[in-house]
């Protein structure tokens, strides 16, 4: 008997029944086809300015830095200032060609490398699929020109997000995923602040393996 | 809440530790129950609630002792004990009997009418003790079973406050003292660490007196206090409520 069959048989024996009949499976199937949210914490049900404020507060509490921009034109200067502030080389990796184009016409006040992030890159700029105000998280997904490694390999990870991309809670993210992507992508990554560990001497340090810094460039809608 | 006008009959479950080590606590309990307007009787066919056997995995003995107690205490309005852990055990009695066993029903009914002393006085009788001159300053140890199985935390504190005693909370009052019945003997080195922390916490409170509602905890803590030569008195809270402070505290020299 295969391990698979043995395990399923053991489970059924323990539960005191045979495999579920189609009629018994039907309600379970129906529930899976139309998943319902469980209790959603009331404090997360926000919109408008309150939603935005919660996102920023939570992101900063998670030790991400947040910079609010009025329009896209401010982006190159904002990035240049950030690189200078942290004494990083004036070079930025941008995996998404569309995002690179958004930065505006050359010359930019830093070198732009349009390719997936590599280990050793000081700074990498990505967009995001969504952001969640519940926890101040940005959400990356896998796809074309969307290497997941860009959220982990560089020393500093910069994320451009628009305020319209911010949803209130986990459940709203799932609605967005189902609506826009149909099913889950190969990888869906919530990022809430920079990488950290306190495993050595119980002293919290940033940059355990992922980025040392997470900088959110928040483009507010007019 | 004034004391209800009825006079229920309360059967006192003395508990084996009170019976053996500190009967004055039972006398204090009787006094308090009478002051709260109850008629108190003490059924004679009582020995132990069976918790040592139950926790050691000997369900058969636990069942027999439970059976013995249910019978000895049948017919009384209430069963009251000066111990959260023993009443916690009484409330487990239904599980010891098969559902079709008449004793299961008996145990279920008794589950609703068995109480720890402070819980009974406050919640069932609405008893308010009169203030006592020279009521002491004390810190309080929350015995685990009473706290987590029965929800006892505010009741003894409330009674003591009404008595005029002054509470100074110690850090980690709700952390286990390391008694745990046979645990303190089976894992004595760990138990020793736990009781040492408890004594340190009590000392940190600066109160000269530690009160609690379970004699197991109290013997454990008082025994450690004595061994370390720490200046801390240990008593059951009933002793303060019944004004028994002239008696030696636990582990203190007794006059001839």
């Amino acid at each position: 008997m295969s391990d698979r069959l043995q395990i399923l048989t053991n489970i059924r024996r323990s539960l005191g029944r045979d495999a579920l009949a189609p009629a018994q499976q039907q309600p379970l199937e129906a529930a899976l086809a139309a998943p319902q949210p469980n209790l959603i914490p009331a404090q997360t049900r926000l919109n408008g300015a309150a939603l935005l404020e919660r996102f920023v507060t939570k992101a900063e509490a998670a030790l991400a830095s947040v910079q609010r921009l009025g329009n896209l034109d401010e982006l190159p200067a904002a990035i240049e200032a950030y690189l200078r502030q942290h004494q990083l080389p004036a070079a930025l990796t941008v995996p998404e060609s569309g995002l690179a184009a958004l930065l505006g016409p050359q010359p930019l006040p830093f070198a732009l490398l349009q390719r997936p992030a590599r280990s050793g890159d000081a700074a990498c700029l990505t967009g995001c699929f969504a952001a969640m105000a519940e926890t101040g998280s940005v959400v990356l997904r896998s796809g074309a020109e969307l290497p997941i490694g860009s959220g982990y390999l560089p020393d500093s990870h910069l994320v451009l997000l628009r305020s319209e991309q911010i949803v209130d809670c986990y459940e709203s993210l799932w609605r967005k995923v189902r609506a826009e992507l149909g099913t889950m992508p190969r990888s869906l990554n919530w990022i809430t602040g920079p990488s950290r560990s306190a495993d050595i001497g119980m002293s919290m340090q940033m940059g355990a393996h992922g980025p040392i810094r997470l900088h959110l460039l928040l483009l507010e809608s007019p | 809440m004034t004391t209800p006008p009825d006079t229920p009959t309360v059967a006192l479950f003395v508990t084996c530790l009170v019976d053996l080590f500190r009967p004055s606590v039972a006398h204090a309990a009787i006094e308090l129950l009478e002051a709260a307007g109850c008629r108190v009787e003490v059924p004679s066919a009582q020995t132990c609630c069976g918790q040592p056997a139950f926790n050691a995995g000997d369900r058969r003995t636990a069942r027999r002792l439970a059976s013995q107690l249910l019978e000895a205490f049948a017919g009384y309005d209430h069963v009251v004990a000066p111990s959260g852990s023993c009443i916690g055990m009484w409330r487990q009695f239904p599980d010891l009997f098969a559902e079709d066993d008449p004793r299961h029903q008996q145990a279920l009914q008794r589950q609703q009418s068995c109480h720890e002393l402070s819980q009974f006085l406050v919640e069932v009788r609405g008893y308010r003790p009169p203030p006592l001159d020279g009521a002491p300053t004390f810190t309080y140890h929350d015995s685990c079973a009473g706290l987590r199985e029965l929800g006892i935390r505010t009741q003894p504190r409330q009674l003591l406050a009404e008595r005029g005693a002054t509470l100074v909370e110690m850090p980690n009052a709700e952390v286990c003292c390391g008694f745990g019945g046979t645990f303190c003997n089976k894992f004595d080195t760990i138990s020793n660490q736990m009781v040492s922390h408890k004594v340190e916490a009590a000392v940190a409170s600066t109160a000269p007196l530690l009160l609690a509602g379970d004699l197991g905890c109290l013997l454990n803590i008082a025994g450690k206090v004595r061994r370390e030569g720490v200046a801390l008195e240990c008593r059951h809270f009933a002793e303060v409520l019944a004004d028994q402070l002239h008696r030696p505290a636990i582990g203190q020299p007794q006059p001839e």
Binding site: L20, P35, N38 | D19, M194, G223
Partner: protein
């Protein structure tokens, strides 16, 4: 990891003598208790979420076969493969086979208790495959060949100096000549060295906090990001998880996730929360070419039909051990098991047998703190008592204990004899101890008397004085 639960009593002694361990345990214990309380206070619906979590887990367990089959279907639809392993040996053999199938020589690992349970590292290393733990604490322990002392902080028993020595010994080969005790510098070193391992790995192995049947997704949470680098860089990603990890929907996983992080460390959210669904798709820029989910039973399907069923609700948050006063004194290594603390005391005998592990469920005062903090309301003391009942039937306790208990039990069932014997004993103990107020030397109770005195009883038992009073007629209460 090899089980050493039969050495529990020796290991306790060692733990209690380890000052560094005990200092760190104390800090961690009260720190984590504080952060959990704060997280709970900030989420008013915490207890309602617990109730929902219990319902979700119970429902899933009662339909476990259905959800596992659905999970398998969805993983396959996403281009992954599912391997079922009935026990630890089958699981590690399966993974070894996968290594051979893909010509794997270097493996990176995210933190996974299941891989410890099946003792995977030893199996792979014996076959000549290099395995690198990437969780920083686990990495240090791997270099030192030591077991973890805590689920959240595996290496808390180590001083900074000890870690510095270990790094100095192993990092020279990577170009770090100088020994340092500056923690930021040590982190940078570890980051650099492990980054190399991440990049050269052929296969990444992670566990899963939850497996989501609806989508065929495996979810992990980390604060370091090591799980993600383990999963995304190599050409093969293997997820190893117990069959009890499955939950129906993304929404159900969300509910459990809200409880998991708050219960474990008091965080609202971990830094990295990732959902893996199958293998690299056409169009994906990076990701593993092959994705495998290894579903491990190892006794869980049996537990499902036993008195231990409720244990399968466990989401491995660690709250029980973070709050346990016994674990708080001795740490994780003493249990000699993959799973320490209260949940370990329940699970370990099921995994390695009661004969080997029966001291674990006995090392509890039943204070109930574990059950109080468990996000899925597992009645841990009741389950530990179940093991004690089994142990009692199999006579696993020492003869002296069983005899003492039998004697007490028999006498207690005969009140008149009980009265006589207790009356005499108390009179004697009182006489011996009343002048001082306590007794220090007795032929019994060695464990008690080693550390405490025994308060002397009052003059006579309650019933001796009560009967005397009844005979005299009722008067003022006296002793």
């Amino acid at each position: 990891m090899q089980n050493h639960s039969h050495e529990f009593d020796n290991l306790i002694g060692r733990a209690l003598d380890d000052t560094q361990l005990r200092q760190s345990l104390s800090l961690l214990r009260f720190g984590l208790s504080f952060t959990r309380s704060r997280a709970m206070a900030e989420l008013p619906e915490f207890d309602q979420l617990r109730d929902q979590a219990v319902a979700i887990k119970n429902h899933t367990l009662n339909h476990l076969d259905f959800y596992l089959e659905r999970l398998e279907q969805q993983v396959k639809a996403a281009g992954g493969e599912v391997c079922w392993a009935v026990d630890a040996a089958a699981a590690s053999q399966t993974i070894l086979d996968l290594c051979r199938r893909h010509g794997v020589r270097n493996v990176t690992k995210g933190k996974s208790m299941m891989t410890e349970e099946i003792d995977l590292n030893a199996r792979l290393e014996a076959a000549g495959i290099q395995v690198k733990e990437t969780d920083l604490g686990e990495y240090v322990l791997q270099l030192r060949d030591e077991a973890p002392s805590h689920i959240v902080g595996p290496a808390i028993h180590l001083t900074v100096d000890q870690v510095a020595d270990t790094f100095h010994q192993h990092h020279r080969a990577h170009g770090f000549e100088a020994r340092t005790t500056e923690i930021p510098q040590m982190m940078r070193e570890a980051r650099t060295v492990l980054r190399k391992h991440f990049l050269e790995a052929d296969m990444g192995i992670t566990g899963a906090n939850f497996l989501i049947a609806e989508q065929g997704s495996a979810m992990i949470v980390t604060n370091e990001g090591n799980g993600d680098l383990t999963a995304v860089l190599p050409r093969v990603h293997v997820v190893v998880a117990g069959i009890d990890k499955v939950v129906p929907t993304l929404e159900d996983a969300s509910t459990l996730l809200r409880l998991l992080t708050r219960s474990a460390t008091g965080q609202e959210c971990a830094v990295y929360t990732t959902f893996f669904t199958g293998a690299k798709r056409s169009g994906d820029t990076d990701g593993p070419e092959a994705f495998y989910l290894v579903l491990v039973d190892n006794g869980r399907s049996q537990m499902l039909g036993s008195e231990l069923k409720e244990m399968l609700r466990c989401i491995r948050c660690g709250a029980c051990m973070n709050h346990c006063p016994v674990y708080g004194e001795i740490g994780g290594q003493a249990y000699g098991s993959v799973y320490p603390g209260p949940m370990g005391a329940v699970l370990t005998p099921a995994l390695v047998g009661l004969e080997r592990a029966h001291r674990l469920p006995n090392a509890s005062t039943f204070c109930g703190k574990c059950e109080e903090v468990c996000p899925v309301r597992i009645p841990l003391p009741k389950l530990m008592r179940h093991w004690r009942e089994q142990g009692f039937e199999r006579q696993l306790e020492p003869l002296s204990f069983r005899f003492g208990l039998s004697l007490w039990s028999w006498v207690a069932r005969h009140p008149p004899l009980y009265r006589l014997l207790t009356s005499l004993s108390v009179k004697l103990l009182n006489r011996l101890g009343r002048r001082q107020g306590y007794l220090r030397r007795l032929p019994l109770g060695r464990g008690w008397l080693a550390w405490r005195d025994l308060p002397a009883p009052q003059q006579q038992t309650f019933f001796a004085s009560w009967e005397a009073k009844q005979n005299r007629g009722r008067g003022a209460s006296d002793v």
